[in-house]
């Protein structure tokens, strides 16, 4: 292209071919006004791999269970022991969920859809059906629209998965992150709206979320609402925190993010430890099949781990690394091909780090290799504990003797899983990931000691 053409392009960034409003779910429609973002969005269907990232990371199987059979032991009795795969692009999120054996062979609720589909409109339609006030084209931030959203969300969580999934037809789309009027970012998922409010009410320092710190100093009468309070830079992470977080979404309670004490692994653990289900039973995700321990499952706590790292503290958002600016002609737009930053180090990292690409790759590899190595050590310890606990149980050990060991398994397993389920192999907060693994090792080994001492 020549210079004259480039000048021309500079002026054509936002077409106005389609009138977008709160009812337009189909990204192809939005794409008529924003073709570049839409083209990139479609490319999330491309498959790739890095050393530890992407679908079927280099040298690792796509199935995380095949890649590391210790996980089958660790998750025994839970759906994750049947099917657990490397993540892949956003384009696959709905399909992958519908096809996973965790859904086809186990009963799941509609809550699963919270993070695997475009449900902003679906929730509202369902809410209207359940008697929420107003109309579907009420602006999203109006009271009526919010009531529709919550009513639909709650209703969907009570539906069986197979039924609920018929209500949606797209993976995450434009409307889940953007206001159709002005393309500003917005939060549409109730899980995060509730979760961040709980976090705001906790005492945990959140230097990376300055408006939460600010809200805490106010009168706290109206709840913290990111759509009202958060800065643009915070929103560039919060839109991702709608999904890339630890959650509970089983049958015994409505989906929630366990942030009432803070975002650190042990703070979340403490929330679960205190939590009682509606029927009065204490919280757990499942009873471990081999050992009988009630244990917790961690899922993709990217937002939580990132929160403990130096990037978060420095105001570096998820979008800065995973959706870096790309020049399209004269203007810069956000790369809507959300992916591993290691595939585009120039744009994702070198804007801030003046080092050659090779050096940056080496730094990430150093961090990830360290995490991987320590994680493997923690897994060995946990698998040994599980084996010995199973044997003790089979040998008829009294429950009173098993109880303290179960508690240690739960602690060890939670910590190991927190790092393993997180998807950056420790990169988002290297020292914190290592600290958590150090504790995992300690608790697993203490469990083994307790078993021997109980004999």
């Amino acid at each position: 292209r020549n210079v004259a053409e480039r000048r021309q392009e500079a002026k054509q960034t936002s077409l106005d071919l389609v009138r977008l409003d709160e009812t337009v779910v189909d990204p192809a429609q939005w794409g008529k006004n924003f073709p570049r973002q839409h083209d990139a969005y479609l490319r999330t269907a491309e498959r790739f791999s890095t050393k530890y990232g992407g679908a079927g990371s280099e040298g690792f199987a796509k199935s995380r269970l095949e890649d590391d059979p210790r996980l089958v032991t660790i998750f025994d009795g839970y759906a994750f022991a049947i099917d657990f795969n490397q993540r892949q692009g956003h384009a696959y999120m709905l399909d992958d969920q519908r096809k996973t054996k965790r859904v086809t062979q186990r009963k799941q609720t509609g809550a699963c859809l919270h993070c695997h589909s475009s449900n902003t409109v679906a929730y509202r339609e369902l809410g209207l059906k359940h008697g929420a006030p107003g109309k579907l084209d009420d602006p999203f931030l109006t009271d009526n629209a919010q009531k529709q959203l919550y009513a639909g969300f709650e209703a969907s969580c009570k539906m069986p998965y197979d039924e609920a999934t018929k209500l949606v037809s797209h993976p995450v789309t434009c409307i889940d992150c953007h206001d159709p009027q002005n393309m500003a970012l917005r939060i549409t998922k109730p899980g995060l709206l509730d979760g961040i409010d709980a976090l705001a009410r906790s005492e945990d320092p959140v230097p990376h979320l300055p408006t939460v710190e600010k809200w805490r100093k106010g009168d706290r009468k109206v709840r913290y609402d990111p759509n009202r309070e958060a800065t643009r830079q915070e929103m560039r992470s919060l839109v991702c925190a709608q999904c890339h977080v630890e959650y509970y979404c089983g049958a015994k309670a409505t989906l929630f993010f366990p942030w009432g004490k803070g975002l650190k692994a042990e703070q979340i653990e403490a929330v679960y430890a205190e939590y009682k289900f509606a029927d009065g039973t204490p919280f757990s995700d499942w009873k471990h099949k081999r050992t009988g321990a009630d244990v917790y499952k961690a899922q993709h706590p990217e937002f939580e781990l990132w929160s403990q790292g130096v990037h978060a503290r420095s105001g570096v958002s998820c979008a800065d690394c995973h959706m870096p600016y790309v020049r399209e002609g004269a203007i810069k737009i956000s790369d809507h091909h959300v992916k591993s930053p290691l595939l585009d180090v120039a744009r994702a990292c070198q804007v801030c780090h003046r080092f050659p690409e090779q050096e940056i790759q080496a730094r990430v590899a150093t961090i990830q290799d360290r995490t991987h190595h320590l994680m493997s050590r923690a897994e060995d310890a946990l698998v040994q504990l599980i084996g010995e606990l199973e044997a003790a149980k089979q040998a008829g050990a009294a429950e009173a003797k098993l109880q303290p060991v179960w508690a240690l398994q739960r602690k060890a397993q939670w910590r190991l899983d927190f790092v393993n389920a997180e998807n950056s192999m420790g990169f988002h907060a290297p020292q914190e990931a290592a600290r958590i693994l150090g504790e995992a090792i300690d608790y697993a080994r203490q469990g083994q000691l307790a078993l021997r001492d109980a004999k």
């Binding site: 292209r1 420095s314 120039a346 070198q350």
Partner: protein, 164 residues
């Protein structure tokens, strides 16, 4: 910094001019390569890719004391200045037209040397003790990135404010 002999500079400058006269003319004109012949920072932003650097400079600590050319052009000889101007002007114009440059844009070792000489031009007295036993500057080992060393290793944001 390596000294460009007058003869080399003159030779190179006339070579560069020769190139402009030929195939480079369209590029040079259309991409407003003549911007390089002015000292006004505003002309640098004739290229939109220089926008960030311009904005950064406006927010930087040297906004009131130094313009682009005070830092980015050699000041020890007019001929050399013209040569660097011409070759940068040509290079950037070509890069801009062909769009073969890599973003983020990074200063090249030769230009980093020019830059550091300019720091010393203004701050030489203040830094004479720390530079007395050899320049802090561009490392002797060519495999090292030039911009890791020298004044800018610490004072990276003097020209364009903070990057992160």
């Amino acid at each position: 910094m390596p000294f460009l002999s007058l003869r080399t500079a003159a030779l190179a400058a006339s070579l560069a001019v020769g190139v402009f006269a030929g195939s480079g003319t369209y590029t040079f004109v259309a991409a407003q390569g003549h911007s390089y012949l002015s000292d006004d920072p505003a002309v640098c932003v004739n290229c939109h890719v220089m926008r960030e650097h311009y904005d950064g400079w406006q927010h930087g600590s040297h906004h009131a004391t130094a313009t682009c050319n005070d830092c980015h052009l050699p000041h020890d000889s007019l001929l050399q200045a013209l040569f660097v101007k011409a070759s940068n002007g040509y290079h950037h114009g070509a890069a801009f037209t062909i769009q073969d440059f890599v973003e983020p844009i990074r200063i090249k070792p030769g230009n980093a040397r020019v830059l550091e000489a300019n720091c010393l031009r203004c701050h030489g007295e203040a830094t004479q003790e720390i530079t007395a036993h050899g320049t802090l500057g561009v490392p002797s080992d060519p495999t090292q990135e030039a911009d890791l060393y020298g004044c800018v290793r610490c004072h990276q944001d003097v020209g364009h404010g903070t990057h992160r």
